[in-house]
Amino acid sequence: MERIPILRMGDLLLVTIQVDMHDRLAMQLQDDLTARIVSDNAKGVLIDISALDLVDSFIGRMISNTAAMARVLDARTVVVGMQPAVAITLVELGLTLHGVKTALNVEKGMALLGKNFQ
């Protein structure tokens, strides 16, 4: 079964969504990510969704929930690289990712996480 890879960089976890998200894949990611945050004792999570160019309400909620779960596990979470069309869709769906940090690209997201550690 295909999975979204979770990469470890120091105490950061890097998730890059490069394929079309479908519902089961999103559920699997949630399970994997939460497990990895605990097992690796990660302090930060960076979710890159720049390759995601369309979302439905379910995927939108999954992104929002995944970010929120990571936050509950005390890992600072940054969602980066959201496409304009995806942003508009999420706002129309009322999913504004409240409390989750966002950045334009991975570089800026890293800076945001780095700054928060100091």
């Binding site: 969602v79 980066v80 959201m82 496409q83 942003a87 129309e92 966002t102 334009l104």
Partner: protein, 288 residues
Amino acid sequence: MSMKDYADRISQTILDQEAAIAAEWLAQLEALLVRSNAAAREQLRSHCQQFLKAFAGATRSGELENIEHRSWDEVRDLLSEISATRARSGSTPAETATFVFSLKQPLFSRLRDAFTGDADGLASASWTINTLIDKLGLFTITVFQKTKDQIIVRQQQELLELSTPVVKLWDGILALPLIGTLDSARTQVVMENILQKIVDTGAIIAIIDITGVPTVDTLVAQHLMKTIAAARLMGADCIISGIRPQIAQTIVHLGVNLEDVITKATLADAFVVALERTGATIAAKRTA
């Protein structure tokens, strides 16, 4: 006497008296003309003559009850053209409708002469002509309205295009001066423009200046909040600037929650905050 005979007699009367009817009709229309100049009179005359010619031709077909009939094609085309011209030149609907309705009087007086001593015939003929002209009048107004609607749609599109510039003020700082009321359609365009610009320039802060927005009600505020939320999802923060005193009062009275947003009174204040965020400062040049 059958319907067809009436139609024939009416048609014959109009054909015989075409010149006289035209003269009387034109005199009436000219008396009503608001902007009386040579060009307007000339246009009116040519419209009258063309219309009467087509009208007389169409009555000859005997189809006096159905203006959708093939034989009325020329009349309808001509009326559409006249009506559209008038709509574009700014005539009122009343003026445009009068063009057709004022034909009644000259026609009725000719019919009275033609049907002397035949009261029944005159009544039927009058009724026929009356309904016919009414239908043509309604058709004129329909076209008039359609033309106006087209003009409005076109202007709306033009407004959309010219009213949503996104300008870059500094590295990483964008400004969006909004002018005019924000409705759903405009919000959509504004949102798309600013998000695309954020991607293009890699901006981390966007200033939305609402100096040119005349009123802020709950709907406009909601649209603003949506734009700000979408920008935040892309990793850019927004500042609202250009809030006039009355607008500030309205926002508080309406109970709109702007607490999560940075608001500034002027674009200059907002720019200073934006510069601080990007790590730049402005200093006066030291004169030695």
